[in-house]
Protein backbone atom coordinates (compact mmCIF):
# COMPACT_ATOMS: atom_id res chain seq x y z
CA UNK A 1 0.00 0.00 0.00
CA UNK A 2 1.39 3.33 -1.04
CA UNK A 3 0.62 6.34 1.10
CA UNK A 4 1.12 9.46 -0.96
CA UNK A 5 1.97 12.62 0.91
CA UNK A 6 2.11 16.17 -0.30
CA UNK A 7 3.92 18.81 1.72
CA UNK A 8 2.84 22.39 1.23
CA UNK A 9 5.40 24.47 -0.62
CA UNK A 10 7.83 26.22 1.66
CA UNK A 11 7.45 23.61 4.38
CA UNK A 12 9.25 20.35 5.09
CA UNK A 13 8.75 17.50 7.52
CA UNK A 14 11.55 15.72 9.34
CA UNK A 15 12.40 12.42 7.69
CA UNK A 16 11.99 9.09 9.45
CA UNK A 17 15.65 9.39 10.54
CA UNK A 18 16.41 13.01 11.45
CA UNK A 19 20.02 13.77 12.25
CA UNK A 20 19.28 15.50 15.53
CA UNK A 21 18.16 13.67 18.68
CA UNK A 22 15.54 16.30 19.52
CA UNK A 23 13.78 16.38 16.16
CA UNK A 24 10.54 14.44 15.82
CA UNK A 25 10.79 11.80 13.07
CA UNK A 26 8.05 11.06 10.58
CA UNK A 27 6.67 7.66 11.48
CA UNK A 28 3.91 5.44 10.12
CA UNK A 29 2.76 2.72 12.50
CA UNK A 30 0.08 0.06 12.22
CA UNK A 31 -1.62 -1.95 14.94
CA UNK A 32 -1.72 -5.73 15.10
CA UNK A 33 -4.88 -7.39 13.82
CA UNK A 34 -6.20 -9.61 11.04
CA UNK A 35 -3.73 -7.84 8.75
CA UNK A 36 -0.30 -6.81 9.91
CA UNK A 37 2.35 -4.48 8.57
CA UNK A 38 5.32 -6.58 7.61
CA UNK A 39 7.49 -3.67 6.54
CA UNK A 40 7.21 0.11 6.18
CA UNK A 41 9.50 1.63 3.57
CA UNK A 42 10.26 5.32 3.65
CA UNK A 43 11.71 7.25 0.72
CA UNK A 44 15.26 8.46 0.61
CA UNK A 45 15.43 11.77 2.49
CA UNK A 46 16.74 15.05 1.19
CA UNK A 47 19.47 16.82 3.12
CA UNK A 48 18.65 20.51 3.02
CA UNK A 49 20.41 23.56 4.38
CA UNK A 50 18.26 25.96 6.37
CA UNK A 51 19.10 29.25 8.03
CA UNK A 52 18.33 27.79 11.45
CA UNK A 53 20.77 24.86 11.21
CA UNK A 54 24.53 24.73 10.80
CA UNK A 55 24.21 21.17 9.49
CA UNK A 56 21.99 19.86 6.67
CA UNK A 57 18.64 18.62 7.90
CA UNK A 58 17.20 15.23 6.86
CA UNK A 59 13.73 16.01 5.50
CA UNK A 60 10.93 15.13 3.14
CA UNK A 61 9.36 17.87 1.09
CA UNK A 62 7.12 18.14 -1.94
CA UNK A 63 5.50 14.82 -2.88
CA UNK A 64 6.67 11.52 -1.47
CA UNK A 65 5.38 8.00 -0.83
CA UNK A 66 5.56 5.64 2.11
CA UNK A 67 5.07 2.00 1.15
CA UNK A 68 3.71 -0.57 3.58
CA UNK A 69 3.81 -4.28 2.89
CA UNK A 70 1.00 -6.08 4.68
CA UNK A 71 0.45 -9.74 5.43
CA UNK A 72 -2.58 -11.59 6.65
CA UNK A 73 -2.31 -12.79 10.23
CA UNK A 74 -2.39 -16.53 10.80
CA UNK A 75 -5.99 -17.59 11.05
CA UNK A 76 -7.33 -14.40 9.50
CA UNK A 77 -10.82 -14.85 8.09
CA UNK A 78 -11.31 -14.14 4.37
CA UNK A 79 -13.05 -10.92 3.48
CA UNK A 80 -12.47 -7.21 3.92
CA UNK A 81 -10.23 -6.21 6.78
CA UNK A 82 -9.80 -2.61 7.81
CA UNK A 83 -6.73 -1.33 9.54
CA UNK A 84 -6.08 2.19 10.85
CA UNK A 85 -2.52 3.33 11.10
CA UNK A 86 -1.05 6.44 12.67
CA UNK A 87 1.13 8.86 10.77
CA UNK A 88 3.12 11.20 13.01
CA UNK A 89 4.96 14.15 11.56
CA UNK A 90 6.25 17.57 12.41
CA UNK A 91 6.65 20.40 9.91
CA UNK A 92 8.70 23.57 9.72
CA UNK A 93 9.60 26.19 7.20
CA UNK A 94 12.70 28.40 7.22
CA UNK A 95 11.51 30.46 10.16
CA UNK A 96 8.96 28.63 12.28
CA UNK A 97 7.72 25.20 13.27
CA UNK A 98 4.22 23.83 13.58
CA UNK A 99 3.32 21.45 16.40
CA UNK A 100 3.75 17.71 15.82
CA UNK A 101 0.63 16.01 14.50
CA UNK A 102 -0.64 12.46 14.40
CA UNK A 103 -3.29 11.57 11.85
CA UNK A 104 -5.18 8.37 11.15
CA UNK A 105 -4.55 6.47 7.93
CA UNK A 106 -7.28 3.97 7.15
CA UNK A 107 -6.91 1.15 4.63
CA UNK A 108 -9.24 -1.70 3.73
CA UNK A 109 -7.71 -4.88 2.37
CA UNK A 110 -9.30 -8.08 1.12
CA UNK A 111 -8.06 -11.23 2.81
CA UNK A 112 -8.43 -14.09 0.31
Amino acid sequence: MKLKAEVRQGFHVNSNAPNDEFLIPLKLTWPMGPVEAEQVNYPKPQFEHYAFSANPVSVFSGNFEIVTRFKAAVGAMPGPAGITGKLRFQACNEKECLPPRTIDVRVTLDVQ
Partner: protein, 196 residues
Protein backbone atom coordinates in the same frame (compact mmCIF):
# COMPACT_ATOMS: atom_id res chain seq x y z
CA UNK B 1 -1.26 -18.54 3.48
CA UNK B 2 -3.96 -15.98 2.92
CA UNK B 3 -3.57 -13.53 0.12
CA UNK B 4 -4.07 -9.80 0.52
CA UNK B 5 -5.64 -7.72 -2.20
CA UNK B 6 -6.12 -3.97 -1.86
CA UNK B 7 -9.79 -3.25 -1.76
CA UNK B 8 -9.06 0.31 -2.81
CA UNK B 9 -6.42 0.75 -5.48
CA UNK B 10 -2.91 1.14 -4.15
CA UNK B 11 -2.74 4.58 -2.70
CA UNK B 12 -4.43 6.45 0.04
CA UNK B 13 -3.78 10.01 -0.95
CA UNK B 14 -3.16 12.38 1.85
CA UNK B 15 -3.31 15.62 0.04
CA UNK B 16 -2.08 18.77 1.64
CA UNK B 17 -0.58 16.69 4.40
CA UNK B 18 1.14 19.55 5.99
CA UNK B 19 -1.62 22.06 5.38
CA UNK B 20 -2.17 21.91 9.08
CA UNK B 21 -3.27 25.18 10.46
CA UNK B 22 -3.26 27.28 7.36
CA UNK B 23 -0.12 28.95 8.64
CA UNK B 24 1.65 31.04 6.09
CA UNK B 25 5.38 31.09 5.98
CA UNK B 26 5.57 34.70 7.04
CA UNK B 27 6.96 35.83 10.32
CA UNK B 28 5.58 38.61 12.43
CA UNK B 29 7.63 41.20 14.12
CA UNK B 30 5.53 43.92 15.62
CA UNK B 31 7.06 47.17 16.72
CA UNK B 32 6.73 47.95 20.40
CA UNK B 33 3.13 49.01 20.90
CA UNK B 34 2.16 52.34 22.32
CA UNK B 35 0.97 52.41 25.92
CA UNK B 36 -2.65 52.69 24.80
CA UNK B 37 -2.46 49.56 22.66
CA UNK B 38 -0.91 47.26 25.25
CA UNK B 39 -3.16 44.67 26.85
CA UNK B 40 -2.52 42.79 30.09
CA UNK B 41 -0.46 39.64 29.65
CA UNK B 42 -2.45 36.68 31.01
CA UNK B 43 -1.13 35.33 34.27
CA UNK B 44 -0.25 31.67 34.52
CA UNK B 45 0.86 29.10 37.09
CA UNK B 46 3.38 26.73 35.53
CA UNK B 47 6.08 24.50 36.98
CA UNK B 48 9.78 25.08 36.47
CA UNK B 49 12.54 22.45 36.32
CA UNK B 50 12.77 22.39 40.15
CA UNK B 51 9.06 21.76 40.50
CA UNK B 52 8.33 25.27 41.73
CA UNK B 53 5.20 27.04 40.54
CA UNK B 54 5.96 30.17 38.55
CA UNK B 55 3.45 32.97 38.04
CA UNK B 56 3.87 35.79 35.56
CA UNK B 57 2.71 38.04 38.40
CA UNK B 58 5.97 37.17 40.21
CA UNK B 59 7.72 39.35 37.62
CA UNK B 60 5.62 42.49 38.04
CA UNK B 61 7.88 45.51 37.81
CA UNK B 62 10.27 43.74 35.44
CA UNK B 63 10.42 43.58 31.66
CA UNK B 64 9.84 39.96 30.69
CA UNK B 65 10.72 38.17 27.50
CA UNK B 66 8.26 35.26 27.41
CA UNK B 67 9.40 32.71 24.86
CA UNK B 68 7.18 29.85 23.70
CA UNK B 69 9.49 27.19 22.28
CA UNK B 70 10.09 23.42 22.07
CA UNK B 71 13.06 21.06 21.82
CA UNK B 72 11.87 19.97 18.37
CA UNK B 73 11.88 23.54 17.08
CA UNK B 74 15.16 24.17 15.28
CA UNK B 75 14.52 27.90 14.65
CA UNK B 76 13.96 28.28 18.41
CA UNK B 77 17.50 27.05 18.97
CA UNK B 78 18.85 30.07 17.07
CA UNK B 79 17.13 32.52 19.41
CA UNK B 80 17.92 30.81 22.70
CA UNK B 81 21.59 31.96 22.85
CA UNK B 82 20.37 35.55 22.20
CA UNK B 83 17.97 35.26 25.12
CA UNK B 84 20.71 33.85 27.34
CA UNK B 85 22.85 36.88 26.50
CA UNK B 86 19.97 39.26 27.26
CA UNK B 87 19.35 37.53 30.58
CA UNK B 88 22.97 37.95 31.54
CA UNK B 89 23.25 41.56 30.33
CA UNK B 90 20.01 43.00 31.60
CA UNK B 91 18.90 40.97 34.64
CA UNK B 92 20.28 43.62 36.97
CA UNK B 93 18.28 46.27 35.14
CA UNK B 94 14.95 44.63 35.88
CA UNK B 95 14.70 42.16 33.01
CA UNK B 96 14.00 38.45 32.94
CA UNK B 97 13.59 35.76 30.33
CA UNK B 98 11.03 33.02 30.93
CA UNK B 99 10.95 30.13 28.49
CA UNK B 100 7.70 28.19 28.09
CA UNK B 101 8.38 24.77 26.66
CA UNK B 102 5.53 23.32 24.64
CA UNK B 103 7.07 19.85 24.58
CA UNK B 104 4.36 17.22 25.04
CA UNK B 105 6.97 14.79 26.38
CA UNK B 106 7.70 17.14 29.28
CA UNK B 107 10.82 17.29 31.42
CA UNK B 108 12.07 13.96 30.04
CA UNK B 109 13.14 15.77 26.88
CA UNK B 110 13.38 19.34 28.18
CA UNK B 111 15.83 18.84 31.05
CA UNK B 112 18.56 17.24 28.89
CA UNK B 113 18.08 20.08 26.41
CA UNK B 114 18.47 22.72 29.12
CA UNK B 115 21.67 21.04 30.25
CA UNK B 116 23.02 20.69 26.74
CA UNK B 117 22.49 24.36 25.92
CA UNK B 118 23.33 25.51 29.46
CA UNK B 119 20.25 27.72 29.50
CA UNK B 120 20.64 30.36 32.21
CA UNK B 121 17.04 31.49 32.51
CA UNK B 122 13.91 30.01 33.98
CA UNK B 123 12.03 27.50 31.88
CA UNK B 124 8.55 26.28 32.66
CA UNK B 125 6.44 23.58 31.09
CA UNK B 126 3.55 25.02 29.11
CA UNK B 127 0.28 23.51 28.00
CA UNK B 128 -2.55 24.15 25.54
CA UNK B 129 -4.36 26.32 28.09
CA UNK B 130 -1.55 28.86 28.39
CA UNK B 131 -1.09 28.77 24.61
CA UNK B 132 -4.77 29.61 24.18
CA UNK B 133 -4.55 32.36 26.79
CA UNK B 134 -1.85 33.98 24.71
CA UNK B 135 -4.03 34.05 21.63
CA UNK B 136 -3.30 30.54 20.41
CA UNK B 137 0.38 29.79 19.98
CA UNK B 138 0.10 28.12 16.58
CA UNK B 139 3.75 28.07 15.65
CA UNK B 140 7.08 28.27 17.38
CA UNK B 141 8.99 30.29 18.31
CA UNK B 142 6.47 32.86 19.50
CA UNK B 143 7.87 35.46 21.85
CA UNK B 144 6.14 38.17 23.82
CA UNK B 145 7.80 41.19 25.37
CA UNK B 146 5.96 42.23 28.52
CA UNK B 147 6.47 45.62 30.08
CA UNK B 148 6.95 46.45 33.74
CA UNK B 149 3.21 46.90 34.17
CA UNK B 150 2.58 43.34 32.97
CA UNK B 151 1.29 44.33 29.53
CA UNK B 152 2.17 42.76 26.18
CA UNK B 153 4.28 45.37 24.42
CA UNK B 154 5.52 43.39 21.42
CA UNK B 155 5.11 40.02 19.74
CA UNK B 156 7.58 38.13 17.58
CA UNK B 157 6.33 35.08 15.65
CA UNK B 158 8.89 32.87 13.96
CA UNK B 159 12.57 33.49 13.58
CA UNK B 160 11.93 37.13 12.84
CA UNK B 161 14.20 40.10 12.44
CA UNK B 162 17.26 39.27 14.44
CA UNK B 163 18.96 39.66 17.76
CA UNK B 164 19.20 43.43 17.34
CA UNK B 165 15.44 43.76 16.92
CA UNK B 166 14.86 42.01 20.23
CA UNK B 167 17.59 43.98 21.95
CA UNK B 168 16.22 47.30 20.72
CA UNK B 169 12.75 46.38 21.96
CA UNK B 170 14.09 45.32 25.35
CA UNK B 171 16.10 48.51 25.80
CA UNK B 172 13.07 50.53 24.79
CA UNK B 173 11.00 48.82 27.45
CA UNK B 174 13.64 49.03 30.13
CA UNK B 175 13.52 52.78 29.62
CA UNK B 176 9.89 53.20 28.55
CA UNK B 177 8.22 52.45 31.84
CA UNK B 178 9.92 55.37 33.42
CA UNK B 179 9.40 57.48 30.32
CA UNK B 180 5.70 56.73 30.30
CA UNK B 181 5.44 57.84 33.89
CA UNK B 182 6.93 61.07 32.73
CA UNK B 183 9.33 61.77 35.56
CA UNK B 184 12.65 63.51 34.84
CA UNK B 185 14.50 60.42 36.14
CA UNK B 186 13.06 58.34 33.30
CA UNK B 187 15.13 60.26 30.76
CA UNK B 188 18.32 59.58 32.72
CA UNK B 189 17.47 55.90 33.08
CA UNK B 190 16.72 55.61 29.37
CA UNK B 191 20.09 57.20 28.58
CA UNK B 192 22.03 54.72 30.69
CA UNK B 193 20.23 51.70 29.29
CA UNK B 194 21.19 52.41 25.70
CA UNK B 195 23.69 49.96 24.29
CA UNK B 196 27.31 51.02 24.08
Amino acid sequence: MRKLVPAALAAAVVAGLIAISGCDSTTVRAAVKSDKERKAAPDFALKDADGKTVHLADYKGKVVLLDFWATWCAPCKIEIPWFMEFEQKYKDKGFAVVGVSMDEDGWTVVKPYLQQLKINYRVVLGNDKVGDQYGGVDSLPTTFLIDRQGRIAATHVGLSGGKDDFQNDILHLLGTSHTSVGTPRSGVLAFFTRPE
